[in-house]
């Protein structure tokens, strides 16, 4: 259990408001991965978590200078670098 947590990769969903990271890898099914890539969520791009909806989900993030909304379940599939 403890080991699993230790190796758990940091994802967009782990960020707090205003924090940022660089995209490392995408998880999830091929369809959502392709969709994210087409929207600019590719390796190396910087992504900022801007805000969360009043009910806690979805969230808004900025990538390539525009704003994108994602559900937390999508955000969990975006692995990012630790700062």
């Amino acid at each position: 259990m403890g080991k699993k947590l230790k190796f758990k990769k940091k994802t967009l969903a782990d960020l707090k408001k205003g924090e940022s990271g660089r995209v490392v890898k995408l998880h999830g099914d091929a369809v959502s991965q392709r969709r994210l890539m087409a929207l600019g969520v590719v390796k190396g791009k910087s992504i900022v978590l801007e805000d969360k909806a009043p009910l806690g989900d979805p969230c808004i993030c900025t990538i390539l200078g525009y704003r994108l909304t994602l559900r937390n379940s999508d955000a969990k599939n975006i692995v990012i670098t630790s700062p």
């Binding site: 890898k25 009910l55 979805p58 909304t69």
Partner: protein, 713 residues
């Protein structure tokens, strides 16, 4: 394309919400639906017009972020591009969002079609301090680049001239863009390309082979399927995709996407410069979002605006609806005067005009409601509202965008079903359409007031409240059932661009209204007329049936009676006419159908009269009360039924049956207009499904009421 006849087909393609439809409108001087909301054009829209002696067929393709085959829009755009019908492409790019917009461009350019580039919303980009080296862009993208501001029409003449100039060059294909990918990818592409060339000798040139090789390695399902004859090609692609991703630790798609964004990054850093340091914190959109998406104010503000929208719609719509009603009765009187007595006159008056009139009355409500929807959509608020509510809706397997159509259902299901068009995923949209008839529309209310008044006098308010709660509960429950078991695969993802707030143009808002009104009127003219005629026929036929008494003789006798006072005569006459009408109703096909179908409702305790009311309610929910009035031989002058009707009803059934009847009337079927709207938005099949599904829901829940009610009493 033909240079002799000077005709050319031009396809407009770009990301959702990049102003593509506005460019389309400006170019064709036409109007098609636009909105500051990703994904408005779902079907392919075409317009033909003349410019400098050329006949240009302009095709507005649905907004897409990429050319894969995942969504309905992507498939539609792609099929059109591959069909070879298009001679020239106009790639519309949001100038303020160039890096993302160019991803689609890289996919287009690899196809090697002559392409023109439009930097749209250049005003917004300039405000951000961006400037573009058009010559550099043009040479790197291998096509002319035009700056436009479609809202004000800036740059449109230059764009039209560029289209004609390009057409005159008569290029069928241009040198496709060549992005150099990772060296391992390039090796794989070369190998696949070689195999493709062997398998399709002389069919494709080198560039096309490379394009197909890239697409196959990117895992394009549809193209892989098309190569199903060539098993070893498929096998080779599969193996290489596996090897590459294992070797690099990235998926093949990601490697290609990286290559594309690498190219884009190079292009943007060379040709785009930002003069002032744009302070994003003070940007208008962020300020407005700080309010509208506020942690505690956001949702109350949304409900406030919803309330304003419905309040305005129903209070403002009442007046013109009244005018239409009197207009219809005027026309009906005029037509009645023109036509000789007989079946044709009855058909026109009681079938066609009454049927159309009953529906056309909703037109003002539709116009006002869609004015608001268009306004919200144009400003960018609609996207925010789905963002705000997505979490709550997701619990029921619904998308955030389904909320507005659901609330609209309390007014009328017809515009509500039409409003689901804003939902992108076809599955989520279908669920939103199918649960909408469960939302208790305003036309059902009179029947509830009548029945509740007759049976639950002291607590009829509570009964009606419970009916509304049931309505919401069943709609949500149905959504859970549908999303789990019937229509799976939608709504799992809420990846959406949040557009900046924009001032709407009046033209676009008015056009949006007009378009919905036109759709609605067209629907009224089709299915509704046919349906009204059928119902009329069922009520009016068979003619000259054998009645138990000779009413005409009786009427004549009363009229000539000397012993009665004029008041008594009038009373006797109305009484006789009512009895006659009731018996005619009983013996009509509708009555016979009621009798024949009523065994189905026997477990619920409904008799044939209820059955007839139920059947007539399919035509329009507000008819239910009128049917009861006729069936129970009571005056139907009041909308919610007279005291007499309430008494007659309360003698005819038990309170448990009445409760079951209310539940059944709430749920049992979309009315004819809604049925027509579902057919239009989905298909005949789904409209039929909706009918069966809601009948099953209505019956089972009404039966539940009977069972529980009998246990309790």
């Amino acid at each position: 394309m033909s240079i002799e006849s000077k005709t050319i087909t031009v396809g407009l393609i770009g990301n959702p919400n990049c102003g593509k439809t506005k460019i389309f409108n400006r170019m064709a001087k036409a109007h098609a639906d636009v909105g500051n909301y990703p994904r408005v054009t779902v079907e392919v829209e075409k317009k033909q017009f003349q410019h400098q002696g050329w006949t240009i067929t302009l095709v507005d393709l649905p907004g897409v972020y990429a050319l894969t085959s995942q969504s309905q829009e992507e498939r539609a755009s792609r099929d059109f591009l591959y069909s070879g019908q298009v001679d020239l492409l106009i790639n519309v790019l949001d100038a303020g969002n160039l890096e993302r917009a160019l991803f689609l461009t890289t996919q287009l350019l690899e196809m090697g079609k002559p392409t023109l580039f439009v930097l749209n919303m250049i005003d917004e980009a300039r405000r951000k301090g961006l400037s573009f080296k058009l010559n550099d862009l043009s040479s790197m993208l291998n096509g002319p680049v035009v700056e436009t501001d479609a809202n004000r029409g800036e740059g449109i003449p230059a764009l039209l001239d560029a289209v004609v100039a390009q057409a005159a060059k008569m290029e069928k294909d241009v040198r496709p863009l060549r992005i150099t990918y990772d060296s391992h990818l390039e090796m794989a592409v070369d190998k696949i390309k070689g195999l493709i060339r062997d398998l399709h000798p002389d069919e494709m040139n080198d560039a096309q082979c490379r394009w197909l090789a890239i697409k196959l390695l990117e895992g394009d399902d549809e193209l892989i399927r098309q190569e199903s004859d060539h098993e070893h090609l498929q096998e080779m692609v599969r193996r290489m995709r596996y090897d590459l991703s294992r070797h690099h630790g990235d998926s093949c798609e990601m490697m290609f996407a990286n290559g594309r964004f690498g190219f884009i990054h190079g292009l943007v850093s060379e040709a785009v410069s930002q003069s002032i340091d744009f302070d994003t914190r003070r940007d208008m959109t962020r300020l407005l979002d700080a309010l509208f998406l506020h942690r505690s104010l956001g949702i109350p503000l949304f409900f406030g605006m919803m309330w304003l929208m419905f309040e305005t719609t129903f209070s403002l719509g009442e007046l013109p609806a009244g005018w239409i009603e009197s207009g219809v009765s005027l026309i009906s009187g005029w037509v009645g005067g023109m036509m000789p007595d007989g079946l044709l006159r009855d058909l026109m008056l009681e079938g066609v005009i009454t049927g159309m009139g009953a529906v056309i009355v909703f037109l003002p409500y539709i116009l006002i409601l869609f004015f608001f929807i268009a306004f919200f959509s144009e400003t960018g608020y609609l996207a925010r509202s789905s963002f705000l509510l997505d979490r709550a809706m997701h619990v029921f397997g619904l998308h955030g965008k389904a909320f507005i159509p659901l609330v609209m259902g309390f007014g009328c299901n017809v515009p509500a079903v039409m409003a689901t068009r804003t939902i992108e995923s076809p599955q989520s949209r279908l669920i939103a359409i199918l649960i909408n008839p469960f939302m208790s529309c305003a036309q059902r209310l009179p029947a509830f007031i009548l029945i509740a008044g007759a049976f639950f006098a002291e607590s009829s308010g509570l009964a009606i409240f419970l009916i509304y709660m049931t309505s919401i509960g069943v709609a949500m429950g149905a959504s859970v059932i549908l999303s789990r078991f019937v229509i799976r695969g939608g709504g799992e993802s809420f990846v959406m661009e949040l557009p900046p707030y924009r001032l709407p143009t009046m033209g676009a808002v008015l056009y949006h209204m007009w378009d919905k009104a036109y759709d609605f009127v067209r629907m009224v003219g089709g299915v509704i007329v046919v349906g009204s005629v059928i119902i009329w026929f069922l009520q009016a036929f068979p003619q000259n049936v054998q009645l138990s008494q000779d009413y005409n003789a009786l009427i004549a006798k009363v009229e000539q009676s000397q012993s009665l006072t004029p008041k008594q005569i009038r009373h006797e006459l109305t009484e006789l006419k009512r009895t006659k009408k009731q018996e005619e109703m009983e013996k009509s096909y509708l009555g016979q159908t009621g009798m024949a179908v009523s065994p189905i409702f026997a477990p619920l305790g409904f008799d044939w009269k209820d059955t007839v009311a139920i059947i007539s309610g399919f035509f329009a929910k507000e008819v239910v009360v009128a049917s009861y009035a006729v069936l129970y031989n009571e005056d139907d002058s009041e909308e919610t039924g007279s005291e007499g009707l309430r008494q007659a009803l309360s003698k005819a059934m038990s309170p448990v049956t009445a409760a079951a009847l209310m539940v059944f009337l709430l749920l049992y079927s979309p009315c004819l207009s809604t049925f027509a709207a579902i057919k239009r938005e989905a298909s005949w099949g789904w409209a039929g499904f909706s009918l069966v599904f809601s009948l099953a829901m209505g019956w089972s829940l009404a039966y539940l009421v009977v069972v529980v009610g009998t246990l309790l009493t």
